[in-house]
């Protein structure tokens, strides 16, 4: 016990020296290595890791490259459930709006940039996978009567990426398991045993995020935070944020009581409207210039 207390004291000193996040992972991995090499018991390692976790959340330690590979696999899994809407003009248009908005966000740089696709389904749904892979359904786009409303939908999804919500769905234990595997084996390319172990953690990580994106949804507070981020991003490029209100009102009219997609995973449009109202108060009624209305109608004619 005295040993543990001393270890904790030193941990605190290191936190002062280096900042909390780094120490969280360093101590965690240090504890894993020590446990794996038999220097301390597993119980001791767990105890040190618990104090380390208070210092830094596990998901913050994943690099953008990790996010990218997780995001690719998540996207492939979602596309295994939905067909892609193969309309070149519509896809290019959604990417023009989406990538332009992403550039105005607080996190314009991901490992390989933001990319958008449309899902060929009537279901009202959208997914933002880590790394900036964003999928929106035809059903959701039909809730948008003009470009600014579509911008609101896309900015909300960029908001989820910017705020790290997808990565936040990963159970904290995954990272420490990963640390235990590769912290011992220092080779860049994993050997068979380490690969099998890392693959298992990867499967678990993908499972955590899929479950959140497809079944349970984010916490309501995260949805409200993404709405708020969307308003900020829209304002930065000059889109009228009142379009978010219009889009949510349209959605409220279209979303049935037993709808899947957003009906299952998101707070109701009414609740979102209520929550975003104070932010929108000063921004007035949306007036959409004809040029934006025209290009939206042209590109989205068949949606």
């Amino acid at each position: 016990m005295r040993n543990l207390l001393t270890a904790f004291f030193i941990l605190c000193l290191l936190m002062v020296a280096q900042g909390c996040q780094t120490v969280g992972s360093v101590a965690s991995i240090g504890a894993d290595i020590a446990a794996a090499t038999g220097q301390i018991s597993l119980k001791q390692a767990e105890s040190i890791k618990r104090s380390a976790q208070a210092a830094g959340q596990a998901f913050e330690e994943f690099t953008p490259e990790n996010e990218y590979y997780i995001g690719r696999t998540i996207t492939a899994n979602i596309l295994n459930r939905y067909k892609v809407y193969e309309n070149r003009d519509a896809t290019v248009y959604v990417n023009l709006i989406g990538q332009t908005l992403a550039r105005a966000s607080d996190k314009p740089e991901t490992f390989n940039g933001y990319h958008f696709l449309i899902l060929d389904t009537d279901e009202i749904n959208a997914f933002a996978a880590p790394g900036g892979f964003i999928l929106v359904s035809r059903g959701l786009i039909r809730c948008c009567r003009y470009e600014d409303a579509l911008a609101a939908v896309l900015a909300h999804e960029v908001g989820h990426v910017q705020l790290g919500h997808g990565m936040g769905a990963i159970q904290a234990g995954r990272y420490t398991s990963l640390g235990r595997i590769v912290g011992v084996e220092l080779a860049k390319n994993l050997g068979d045993k380490q690969l099998a172990q890392a693959a298992e953690v990867f499967d678990g990580t993908v499972g955590d995020i899929m479950k959140t994106l497809v079944d349970t949804g984010y916490q309501s507070s995260q949805e409200y935070a993404a709405d708020k981020a969307a308003v900020t991003i829209m304002q930065r490029v000059g889109y009228n944020p009142m379009a978010l209100k219009d889009m949510l009102e349209q959605m409220a009219g279209r979303l049935g009581p037993n709808s899947g997609g957003f009906g299952k995973t998101h707070p109701s449009p009414q609740k979102r409207l209520q929550n975003i109202a104070p932010v929108l108060q000063e921004t007035g009624t949306p007036t959409i210039p004809a040029v934006r209305k025209t290009r939206f109608d042209r590109m989205m004619a068949n949606i």
């Binding site: 040993n3 001393t6 270890a7 030193i10 290191l14 020296a17 280096q18 780094t22 992972s25 360093v26 991995i29 240090g30 290595i33 020590a34 220097q39 301390i40 330690e61 994943f62 690099t63 953008p64 490259e65 990790n66 590979y69 997780i70 690719r72 696999t73 996207t75 492939a76 596309l79 295994n80 896809t91 023009l96 990538q99 332009t100 550039r103 105005a104 966000s105 607080d106 996190k107 314009p108 490992f111 940039g113 990319h115 958008f116 990272y175 990963l178 595997i181 860049k188 994993l190 690969l195 890392a198 990867f202 990580t205 930065r236 490029v237 000059g238 889109y239 210039p289 040029v291 290009r295």
Partner: protein
């Protein structure tokens, strides 16, 4: 007691990386696949040079979310968005054109060694029904800052930069 001392040593050695990088806090690493150094702190500024994953940059000044920095590999100087950088050290990809690095594998973050291309290859081998074709295709759809700029001005909108406001 001996075990405890051994553990402490490991803890301190593991921490050393962080302390060393803390001492040269003005150096940062590119953490995205590729990005540009620009003449102005804005995406619409002219491109001075391209920097790659794991390139080390020396920070000269910061303005909002933009950092003016010099590439320690090419000596090119320009502005880059802070979200492209990390204070950690990263190892260059195999086959990348970067100069040899002094980073040893021991200094890499655990996660960096974890979920990489090797894991995706393994995942695809085991999950043949999961098709990555459209994931690859969507990554090809790239809007340049110039295209963003034209799109915005044509729509009566204005360019903006993340975080600068």
């Amino acid at each position: 007691m001996k075990r405890f001392v051994a553990f402490l040593l490991i803890l301190i050695v593991s921490s050393l990386t962080g302390i060393v990088s803390g001492a040269s806090a003005k150096d940062m690493t590119v953490q995205v696949n590729e990005t540009q150094l620009r003449a102005m702190p804005a995406y619409y500024g002219a491109v001075v040079s391209t920097v790659n994953y794991a390139d080390r940059l020396r920070v000269i000044e910061q303005k909002g979310s933009w950092v003016k920095a010099v590439s320690l590999r090419t000596n090119a100087q320009g502005w880059v968005h802070i979200s492209a950088l990390t204070s950690k050290r990263l190892a260059p990809k195999a086959g990348a054109g970067s100069a040899p690095t002094s980073v040893s594998t021991g200094e890499l973050s655990a996660a960096e060694k974890g979920f990489t291309e090797q894991i995706e290859r393994d995942y695809r081998r085991k999950n043949r029904s999961i098709d990555f074709t459209w994931v690859d295709r969507m990554e090809q759809i790239t809007v340049t800052p110039q295209q963003s700029m034209s799109f915005l001005s044509e729509g009566g909108l204005r360019p903006a930069e993340g975080g600068v406001q």
